[in-house]
């Protein structure tokens, strides 16, 4: 469909992806600078579609818009989105919350800690210091309830996903995948490099997450005792084959 000009010199590609869904592609690459634009666009789309909006999935570069097909056809949805996005301005990042997440960095709960420390040449303390050294932006929630895709980690910390994902990653595990970092909110399969574990639980009984896109997250290294005091579970990962 016709691209939508949402700001001077900025264009979103619009693709039909289902009988009731359009993909708005605002960017071509992952970048922290995308987030304020995507947040602003999501707010405008919610406002403009109102009751006709069924679901909205923001990701790194895109917004997937599912609309009520009994109320709108694709052309009407496109027109509505074009009106909504005209003259878009990025949402100030200050709108997001700051979180400081305690993490126990240890090989028993983060088996790739020594691996990444060796590969990067930083050593374990250096690696921990660098992982804790900046605030990460929450790009999107997805995969499982409360899984927050965050980044970007410094290039020296970047690490490819495991060739064979683990069947069972414990809740609270903190990992790195490429230049992203994340916390597994619940026990699930997973292929990221694990560095440690947080005692925090990230989702409530309703599945609602502590973090929202646009939030800033900083990790803070804590010792085993503090981790236990905060309610952390020290059981080591099952040894991999």
């Amino acid at each position: 469909m016709k691209p939508i000009n949402y700001a001077p010199g900025r264009q979103a590609q619009v693709e039909v992806v289902a009988i009731d869904g359009l993909m708005l592609r605002l960017f071509e690459a992952i970048d922290e600078a995308n987030v304020p634009w995507l947040l602003a666009a999501a707010a405008r789309v919610r406002g403009a579609l109102g009751e006709a909006l069924v679901d909205l999935v923001p990701a790194y570069t895109t917004l997937y818009v599912q609309y009520d097909l009994a109320r709108l056809d694709a052309a009407q949805a496109h027109a509505c989105l074009a009106r909504a996005l005209a003259g878009l301005a990025p949402e100030p990042v200050a709108a997001g919350q700051e979180h400081v997440v305690p993490v126990w960095y240890d090989p028993s709960v983060g088996p790739e800690l020594p691996v990444l420390a060796a590969r990067s040449g930083l050593g374990v303390p250096g690696l921990i210091a660098r992982h804790c050294g900046r605030a990460y932006t929450v790009f999107a929630l997805g995969f499982t309830p409360g899984f927050a895709f965050m980044g970007l980690v410094e290039p020296v910390l970047a690490a490819p996903r495991l060739a064979t994902p683990r069947q069972r990653v414990p809740a609270g595990s903190v990992g790195i995948g490429e230049r992203q970092t994340a916390i597994y909110p619940s026990v699930s399969p997973g292929g990221w490099n694990l560095l440690g574990r947080t005692p925090w639980s990230l989702v409530d009984a309703q599945g609602t997450c502590r973090f929202s896109p646009g939030d800033r997250v900083r990790f803070e290294a804590v010792g085993r005792d503090r981790f236990v005091e905060l309610g952390g579970d020290c059981s080591p990962l099952e040894v991999r084959e």
Binding site: I19, A74, L141, P145, G146, G207
Partner: protein, 305 residues
Amino acid sequence: MTALIVEHSTPLCSLQDGGRFGVRHLGITQGGAADWVSMGWANWLLGNPLAAAVVEVTLGQFSLRAERDCHLALAGADLEATVDGQHLLPWRSVHLRAGQTLQFKGPRAGARAYLAAPGGWLAPRVLGSCATVARDRLGGLGGRGAALAAGDRLVYRGPAREPRQVAVAQPPNISLAEPLQVVLGAQMAYFSGQSLFDAFDQTWVVDPRADRMGVRLCGPRLHYQGPPMISEGIPLGGIQVPPDGQPIVLGNDRQTIGGYPRLGALAPASLARLAQALPGDMLRLQPVVAEQARASHLRVLRQWA
């Protein structure tokens, strides 16, 4: 209030409804009846809202006993449902007397049967829906994503009404004889010309790796030639193609964001038929224009109006 007691069940038998919406941005999946058309018919037979809570019985091995006389409705697969040894066909209402047991043995045609009760089965709504999603630990009788299990009490409160009839000469079509319709889109342009030709020219076989999250199809290998993908939101019915070239059709319990290239998405009515497929079943795919698929979708909805 009328109750039925579950006597036998499997992890594949669960409470479902129209699904959970407005929460995809939290990483929470949709859930809901995999064959929404059959769910619609089961509810329509009783004059219920079309997405009222139903029992989704997958592959059988499920039975329940009525505590009192009751009128239920059955739609979807023929899983050899019996009451006192008498075979019940889908697309009609079911009368059970107190103490009688309704039993589902196994597939004769299709994979998923839907059992509706007057007013819908009662269950807590979690984030707007009682759809059971084990992975998200949401929905079902207890609200925490558990499938139905022996000893569970299924309760409804609706009035006993004169049930409607589906014209039995023309039962709804759940077979795979007609091709499944694909709304082309997403990364379709990045597949090789040969792949696009093969996708719509050859026969696909339903793989045993099929569940509510996705159904894998085996057939010609599809080659994606585009740039690496950045993960993005994925629609119901999306056809993703991992590096092995064998497509996976994404179902109600799909992950919310995915990074594999997609050929397009099955039209919802076709996805409902795929939900009735058994491993080894064969099917064909056919491209369809989005607006044409939308029009036939609206016709499905209008027949229940």
